[in-house]
């Protein structure tokens, strides 16, 4: 298949599928089935790209990209429709397709009002996120970056619970405020590059050639960093996350934690460092400090949570802190670890949010204090909860351990202090996870609850995620091999 066609289809297929749902807005069952079919095809399509990874790079593609397409879009501004896929994008695109599919299955029964609209938004968001992971033109990237926000805003606001409107608006404003300054920085580098070369373009591989005075690049980089740090989220900017995660419907939490947080890290890797290498390195220590403080603070706060979703939300902040540390070190081992950790965290947190969502659907509560002794009542559910909670806490043999280990091993040489402190961040999750599991699964029953164990639909995707966790924990090599070349090219060391 032709590259350009494959990438365009991969990008717009969910959007078209979503728009096809419009005639079915009054027919929930059919809409749900169509959406699931679109999501499955998209996952197959994304996996199909894996086969292209060994193909020779196409003509005109930047090094490391095995799929590439570039077309004119808005010639007046020099905006081009440049899409490209390298190992990093491939992993994240497959993760996106998988997590979206899980999000659809999770909301199969729990969404009862405006069903078709819900699935439509999920599909539109899938296009937005995949667009972020595939764009190699900054204008296009920014477009998708903003487009992702709208469906999530509606997901939280319409189907959420608790203070959902407050959380939806807070989420939207935090991210928008961060990214608007990035828009100015994008225009800034576009103009500087155009003035220098006479060719006005938003293409990443053109813009990296710009020579910037140090102070200018520091300003522009801080605008980018702000936008990405909000998404990450890094410590002082994290306050939207617990609210948004807690009040979102299960599918919303799954996509927020599994995918949206990754876009910040991805943006930093793909755009932040290559565009402003000096400024990014200068800000490295700041990023490391924020990451380590974030890991410790979030783990500490997670311990005090009584709401399960909030607990997982804070543990997400801690895990993303590891990713930030791995990126800030900017060495091959740590960066590969950070990328692996992004995928791992996506898989595990998706499963955990899905599990809490199922419990909420059955018992209409997410308070830890309500549950107890679940192991005896719903053993299959309890097995998966134990499994994914231990994976998330970094149990050796499961996936998160590998990512965290690589990040620590890679960063120890550069910043021993950060690495040592972050090491505590591996232990602390054990504390709150064990307490959480012990209260929910093993204590005596605190309230008489009639709970049904998980069914085939739920068990199916949980089993799939669990297998992926084990596989990545025991044999992460295929993923590491996939990112080896792009990581080496990004950092500038010859593989």
């Amino acid at each position: 298949m032709n590259d350009s066609l494959l990438l365009t289809t991969l990008l717009f297929f969910p959007l078209i599928g979503g728009l096809l749902l419009i005639p079915f807005l009054g027919r929930p069952v059919l809409a749900r089935q169509i959406a699931l079919a679109v999501g499955t095809v998209e996952l197959l399509l994304a996996s199909f790209c894996w086969l292209s990874a060994t193909a020779p790079p196409p003509a005109g593609a930047p090094a490391g990209f095995f799929l590439f397409s570039s077309r004119d879009w808005i010639p007046d501004f020099g905006v081009r429709l440049i899409l490209g896929m390298d190992g990093i994008s491939l992993l994240l695109v497959i993760l996106t397709a998988l997590v979206t599919l899980v999000a659809m299955l999770v909301s199969w029964r729990s969404i009862t009002k405006r069903v078709a609209l819900h699935y439509l938004l999920l599909l539109v968001m899938e296009t937005g996120i995949i667009g972020v992971f595939l764009s190699l033109d900054l204008f296009l990237f920014y477009l998708f970056w903003e487009v992702m926000l709208i469906p999530m805003f509606f997901l939280i606001g319409i189907w959420g619970h608790g203070r959902n409107i407050y959380s939806a608006v807070k989420f939207f404003l935090f991210t928008l405020a961060g990214s608007l300054l990035m828009l100015l920085a994008i225009i800034g580098i576009y103009l500087l590059h155009g003035d220098q070369t006479g060719c006005y373009s938003f293409a990443l591989n053109e813009l990296v050639k710009t020579t910037l005075p140090y102070s200018t690049s520091l300003w522009l980089y801080s605008a980018f960093l702000l936008a990405f740090a909000v998404k990450f989220p890094l410590l002082p900017l994290h306050t939207w996350l617990p609210d948004a995660h807690t009040d979102a419907p299960t599918a919303g939490s799954v996509i927020l934690a599994g995918l949206l947080l990754k876009t910040g890290a991805y943006g930093l890797i793909r755009f932040g460092y290559p565009l402003f290498p000096e400024a990014a390195r200068a800000c490295g220590p700041l990023l490391m400090t924020l990451a380590v403080v974030g890991i410790l603070y979030a783990s500490w706060v997670a311990y005090a949570q009584t709401d399960m979703k909030r607990l997982i939300a804070y543990s997400s902040i801690a895990h993303m802190g590891f990713v930030a540390l791995g990126i800030a070190v900017w060495r091959p081992v740590a960066l590969s670890g950070a990328l692996l950790q992004m995928v791992n965290h996506g898989l595990t947190t998706t499963a955990l949010f899905a599990l809490v969502g199922m419990l909420d659907e059955r018992a209409h509560s997410r308070e830890i204090a309500v549950f107890g002794g679940l192991w005896g009542k719903i053993p299959r559910f309890s097995f998966f909860l134990l499994f994914f909670a231990m994976a998330s806490a970094g149990m050796p043999g499961l996936n998160n351990f590998v990512g965290e280990f690589l990040i620590l091993a890679g960063s120890f040489r550069i910043t021993p202090l950060s690495a040592c402190l972050a090491f505590l961040g591996i232990i602390l999750p054990l504390v709150y996870t064990v307490r959480f599991l012990q209260e929910v699964l093993f204590q005596t029953e605190r309230q008489p609850l009639l709970l049904a164990d998980i069914n085939w639909r739920e068990g199916g995707f949980l089993g799939l995620l669990a297998l992926a966790d084990i596989y990545l924990g025991l044999h992460p090599e295929p993923l590491l091999a996939m990112v080896r070349l792009p990581v080496a090219l990004l950092i500038g060391v010859v593989p």
Binding site: I74, D76, L143, E146, F154
Partner: protein, 456 residues
């Protein structure tokens, strides 16, 4: 007068004669068909703009460049859209009579004259014809006190601003001795009296664009006037004024003496407009303050003129007109169900009236500058121009106010989709209304993704 000149003037003739025909028709046989006659006249004038090849000939102080053509086309189509949206609204409000469509045609006549004018006198006459028509339109809903209040306010403040504008033009004429804009503007850029004249003209423009501190009329007019009239006033009259400002400023070339006042107008409008909009409980007043802020962005573009700012301002003029049409068109539909302009009355609008709610939500996202709407692309062009011309501080302040503005636009969306309705009630939407509003909404997205289609 030869045939070529007649061609140039044809849209004006169609609109003026059309207005008279509508008035006569109303005297003989009043009814809805007077409005449809108006729509046909507008479409006829629009067709002229598409059909005939552009002529370079200049006569009667009118020119006919491709840019003028596209604006004429746009004004005529906007007027047709406003007439169609008004049909059901006016019927429900009890605004009968042929004077409504006739006045809309006269206003369009004024806008078209303004668009083509090369002579300051013609320009002034066009502007006044337009404004005069709006004095009537704003107060046309005689049964409502708020409309009369709005009309009086607009008339008094408008008269003052006309005085400023006329005096400014007189000073410019005094210093240069000509009224031909191109010749006049090249001659007198440095003289103190000319600068004073420019200052007065700028005050007049600021009033028409409702820039702070000449914005006091805006909230009351937006709240009191009939919704389709507000759409026309907000879209058409501001669009025409932006064209006026761009024509004047682009011919002088170097207008550094105006930099400070323009910068002040832009900053004040962006900051105060957005802050005041945050506090509003009425959707119409909120949109009025939002329009003040949006015009602040346009003033920023005018300030950055040579660096692509004029193009950005014209693009934003088109876009803003579309956003006004969709927003107030949807409001007109909602108000037919008997709700007030309070934001809480829009609760659950997404269930009650999915079509109008979707159009309103889209225009809110466009006003907030969220991609893929034209509102984003327009803001992008404005900020790119501002940065290119070195106005970095103004651009940063502008973008921060834009981030804050998202809050009040989102509030409308929240009310429409995320809160439960208090009282149910369905609204019948006619096919023509649906067609007009959905075309405008689709154009908002298309111009956002393919701005090159608007060849300015």
């Amino acid at each position: 007068m030869n045939l070529n000149e007649l061609w140039t003037l044809l849209p004006l003739l169609i609109l003026a004669c059309g207005a008279l025909v509508v008035l006569l028709l109303g005297a003989v046989e009043p009814g809805r068909h007077t409005t449809w006659t108006g729509v046909v006249c507008c479409c006829g004038a629009a067709l002229w703009a598409v059909q005939t090849p552009p002529l370079v000939s200049v006569s009667f102080g009118m020119s006919d460049t491709p840019l003028v053509r596209s604006f004429i086309l746009f004004f005529c189509l906007l007027a047709a859209a406003v007439l169609i949206v008004s049909l059901e609204y006016n019927e429900q409000r009890g605004i009968h009579g042929e004077e409504y469509p006739a006045t809309i045609l006269f206003v369009t006549f004024g806008m078209v004259a303004m668009a083509g004018a090369t002579n300051l006198l013609v320009l002034f006459l066009g502007l006044e014809t337009m404004t005069f028509g709006f004095y009537i339109l704003v107060a046309i809903d005689l049964k409502r006190g708020t409309a009369s209040e709005a009309g009086l306010k607009y008339l008094l403040l408008g008269a003052v601003s006309t005085g400023f504008l006329a005096f400014g033009l007189a000073l410019l004429y005094f210093t240069s001795g000509t009224l031909e804009s191109a010749a006049l503007l090249k001659q007198c850029s440095g003289e103190p009296l000319a600068v004073l004249g420019w200052g007065f003209v700028l005050i007049g423009i600021a009033f028409k664009l409702s820039l702070v501190p000449a914005h006091f009329w805006t909230p009351d007019i937006y709240q009191g006037a009939p919704a389709p009239v507000v759409a026309f006033l907000s879209g058409g009259s501001k669009c025409a004024t932006i064209l006026f400002a761009v024509t004047l400023l682009s011919t002088i070339g170097n207008y550094s003496a105006l930099r400070t006042p323009l910068l002040a107008l832009a900053l004040l409008s962006m900051i105060l407009g957005n802050l005041a909009a945050l506090l509003q409980k009425s959707i119409r007043r909120m949109l009025a303050y939002s329009s003040i802020a949006q015009m602040g962005y346009v003033a920023l573009a005018l300030l950055a003129g040579g660096a692509g700012g004029f193009k950005a301002a014209l693009f934003y003029a088109f876009t803003y007109a579309l956003m006004s049409l969709t927003a107030f068109g949807a409001i007109a539909v909602f108000e037919r169900s008997g709700i007030t302009d309070q934001l809480e009355d829009y609760r659950g609008g997404g269930c009650k009236e999915p079509f109008a709610a979707a159009v309103l939500a889209l225009s809110m996202f466009a006003l907030a500058g969220i991609p893929p709407t034209a509102g984003f692309t327009g803001k992008f062009m404005i900020f790119a121009a501002a940065l290119r011309s070195g106005e970095t501080a103004a651009a940063v302040i502008g973008i921060l106010t834009a981030a804050a503005s998202a809050y009040y636009y989102l509030r409308v969306v929240v009310n429409l989709y995320m809160l439960k309705p208090e009282k149910a009630g369905r609204i019948e939407i006619s096919l023509a209304e649906k067609l007009v509003l959905s075309t405008a909404a689709i154009l908002l997205v298309i111009f956002g993704l393919f701005p090159m289609l608007l060849d300015l």
